[in-house]
Assembly symmetry: none
Homo-oligomer: 193 residues x 4
DNA sequence: CATGAATGAGCGTTCATTCAT
DNA sequence: CATGAATGAACGCTCATTCAT
């Protein structure tokens, strides 16, 4: 028996179906079938559909988080750190469209809103966010960046990425490494003083 | 007479409930009640819930479209035209959070994807988009803008707006006219050569 | 129009199935089928299965209550009033075995316990209970009855009835009017001083 | 060895949970957990949940039966024997509310009905019942008791007890030894000629 | 045209029971 | 013998849609 990790199977099936059809287009029965388990089995691993969805999102966030920490240029300039994060997210999501579609849907649902609120209130804080936030605050302090609230600078940094990754995944544009680098530079132009 | 009172009532009720509770948190019966009509009556105006949602989105797009055409500085510089559009969208959505929440949900759902595809394939095209596209193509041609595909420039222009309007509506930041103007300038920095 | 045909059909079907098979042996789908309606239709009349059950019990209590008030010998002796109630309950339940089986199950379920508690706390009080209670208190005061708490006297009065009606319905004994009268007298012997 | 530790643990757990939450509020998994065994283990001792419940009831009946035989005044008067049984049941159930709640639920469920039927048809007969029955028949024969069928006299004897023990357990009244003795006397008044 | 009662497929979830280990 | 993960039928309930009035 090679694939005995049922929990993973279920999460993968959920990821795929929800990414493709949305939360409501992915009934537990379909998830179970795709995961190769019985419907009731899911409930041994996740108390409810909501909890499955939340845990899946949390796991994806953790993966993204650790990805950003890898090769993070901690001693680099503000620009280097800023562009590292933007570029890394671009590449990760382009390589992982299901993850992107899922997280996108999650963040636009009631789930995401309350989670977002928790994070902002400091109830939750990931290391990667701290590092990025510090880079930004440093940039503002030393007048490398425009004097905006952190959240505005985040919007300028990630807004285009979200929008463009989506267009890429839907096939409306094609983003290659060269283009990603150039777009990342453009985002830097938006925030730099 | 296509746009009767009842039709409008239904669309308004749908807008409000869907913006607030999502597509699946807004049953037809609730929409009917809020609109002051019987459940069956909705089906005289809209063949199905899906069609209601699609038509509602279309109407909102039309409204936004005509808004952008108003006071469009047709003879102005590329920068003037670009910033007009960004700023106008910022202001409209901040003043119309229900419309924003609805369109946001729509665009992240399966509905939005196919619609988007239609548009790009030229099946649908709004006047405002033509004007904005022309401004951008002009800017690229005259080397005012960075040499990116139009869609990338759109991402750089509107990505931050979508992200920041959302944060504003959720109460995470407060956008006033001064800040909007400064952010719009920052978006311009991203796209200008 | 509160008591439509369908509402009655549903209540009757529920009464019959629950009396026969218990709360858990009577799924909503069976009730619907027996009532000749679709499953969803039940929920137009009753918010939930629990509420259906509670309303059914309440209705049966009301019927029993008004039955006891009919021909109640208000000016009679304590004995006359006591025996009227015991005898009337005997006869009603023997003629209405489904009602008996339902109420029996109800009173032994969590539903019944809290309802009972409410009644005793005076949150709910039916006219018939008041009359019976008054007769008993009068009997105790004038030393016609043994000096027991009211509840003990009720136990002596109704305990045998519940037990014997049940045996009758199950076919273990046959109660006719003569026997009922004699048993009622025996209950009187238990309570009288 | 038929009555192993595990078997007892399971029965005790079942008794407690069913008494408290009813048959349907006591899943096998909960019973297993409370008994400190795996869910599957229960099925080594009991073929099914129904059988577990039936055997539990049977065991409780046996315990009650032997209790009644203890100190049974075999040579005493009919009254002594009658009152002994009534009083002993009162006391046992007041001291063992879980047992009472279980047996009550059992007897009002489909389980209880068929069991009752078996008993009356003579398929099952416990020694205690024989003794009580004999006392009653003797009383009827010698005209100490009213001339009722045995089952009616049982109803008069035990109906009040069941009703009042229940009220005691639910906290609606408090039965102490003095009150129990007096109530037992009252039951005797009901059956004696 | 408008109504709203009725429908029934489909949902998330539970749990008695099985069986490979 | 004991385990507990897995099963899947069955439950209570929702809601988009229909149609007799």
């Amino acid at each position: 028996m090679r694939y005995t990790d049922k929990r993973c199977d279920i999460m993968e099936a959920a990821l795929e179906l929800i990414a493709e059809h949305g939360f409501h287009g992915a009934p537990m029965s379909d998830i179970a079938e795709k995961a190769g388990v019985a419907a009731g089995t899911i409930y041994r691993y996740f108390e409810s559909k909501d909890i499955l969805i939340n845990e899946l999102n949390q796991e994806l966030e953790t993966i993204v988080s650790s990805l950003l920490l890898e090769e993070f240029p901690e001693g680099g300039t503000v620009q280097e750190r800023f562009c590292h994060v933007v570029r890394a997210l671009f590449r990760y999501f382009i390589d992982h469209p299901l993850q992107f579609r899922f997280m996108e849907q999650y963040s636009y649902s009631p789930y995401g809103v309350s989670r977002r609120r928790d994070k902002l209130l400091g109830i939750r804080g990931d290391a990667d966010r701290q590092l990025f936030r510090m880079a930004i605050e440093e940039g503002v302090a030393e007048a490398t960046l425009k004097n905006f609230p952190v959240m505005v600078l985040c919007g300028l940094a990630f807004g285009p990425m979200v929008s463009l990754v989506r267009d890429h995944i839907l096939g409306f544009i094609h983003l290659d490494d060269v283009l990603i680098d150039r777009i990342t530079e453009a985002c830097w132009d938006a925030v730099k003083r």
